[in-house]
Amino acid sequence: MSTYLRAREISQEPVVTLAGEDVARVKDIVFDPMRGSITCFTLSGQGLLAGPLKRALLWKKVHALGPDAVMIRDEASLEDDDEAARERIDAPGGGSVIGARVITEDGTALGTITDVIIEASGTPRVIGYEVGPTARTGQTVFLPVIKPKSVSGEMMVVPACTADFTAGDPAGLPAAAEGLRRRLEQEA
């Protein structure tokens, strides 16, 4: 069974050790939009210590990403020196794609990214985006993104045929992605 998580739901999730202690809260998810893989989480402190925590959690140190918590082995899994994470956060589109416009190669605007959908079974990966309504479509849709052409902080360029494979809810994304993958293979 696949679980679909939204980036917005994951931010604010507690980071909990296998010993049951909550050590931080997720602030943002940093992922590689070109590959769809999660690189790290930025963290904020807990309770009285709330506020940005100068530590990051690299994906390879995560035990599991669940709907209610991000599990880590122990507190040592948090990076003290988040230099490695910082580099990735500063990469184009790494910090946040929410708010970026999705445009096809042939210049059709598909809408603005309002959330990132992550498939959490096995190694989590970004399987698509929730895209807010445009004047043309008038509704929120879910776009499978297998391989964007390019990404910047303000825009994501996707293959033209992406527009033909939208889904009405996150659960429809795998089928839409499969359809898109076949089409891209045919076109290649």
Binding site: L18, P67, A69, M71
Partner: protein, 147 residues
């Protein structure tokens, strides 16, 4: 089946001095193998005391006997990171699987009164076998995933 809730309020007696030490208030658990690591006693005065399970002589129907009062330790002397600290009391605590899914909260504990081993956690979403316990922290009880 012995539910921890039915033992709360039970008197704890020291065998060496025939003293009444207090009554059972709470407990803490430890994993691998899952067992009750300590009993928390309500004692006279403002602060409670803990008694490690290994000092328990017999878990009787009317009273719990321990060898002596020597094993009694004031709760305030424990560091919050220690397993027996009150912040690790599992009752009422949320349950998380190691995969980060919520499984309700702990309502009761089914344990073996002979050796203190944990048979099961009774949660708002069902029974979790004791051998699935991974840890009890101040935030959550973490368990292995079913199956």
């Amino acid at each position: 089946m012995m539910l921890f809730s039915t033992t709360q309020g039970r008197t704890v007696v020291a065998l060496s001095t025939a003293e009444r030490l207090g009554t059972i208030a709470a407990c803490t658990l430890a994993p691998s193998p899952a067992h009750i690591s300590a009993l928390h006693l309500k004692t006279r005065g403002r602060h409670g005391h803990i008694m490690l399970w290994k000092n328990v002589h017999s878990f009787g129907e009317d009273a719990v006997t321990v060898r002596s009062a020597e094993g009694l330790k004031p709760e305030k002397e424990l560091d919050s990171a220690e397993e027996a600290h009150k912040s690790h009391d599992p009752l009422g605590k949320r349950v998380l699987t190691e995969a980060g899914e919520s499984m309700g909260t702990v309502e009761d504990i089914d344990f073996d009164e002979q050796d203190g081993s944990l048979r099961a956690l009774l949660t708002t979403e069902g029974k979790v076998p004791g051998d699935r316990l991974m840890g009890v922290g101040s935030y959550a009880v973490v368990v292995h995933r079913p199956g």
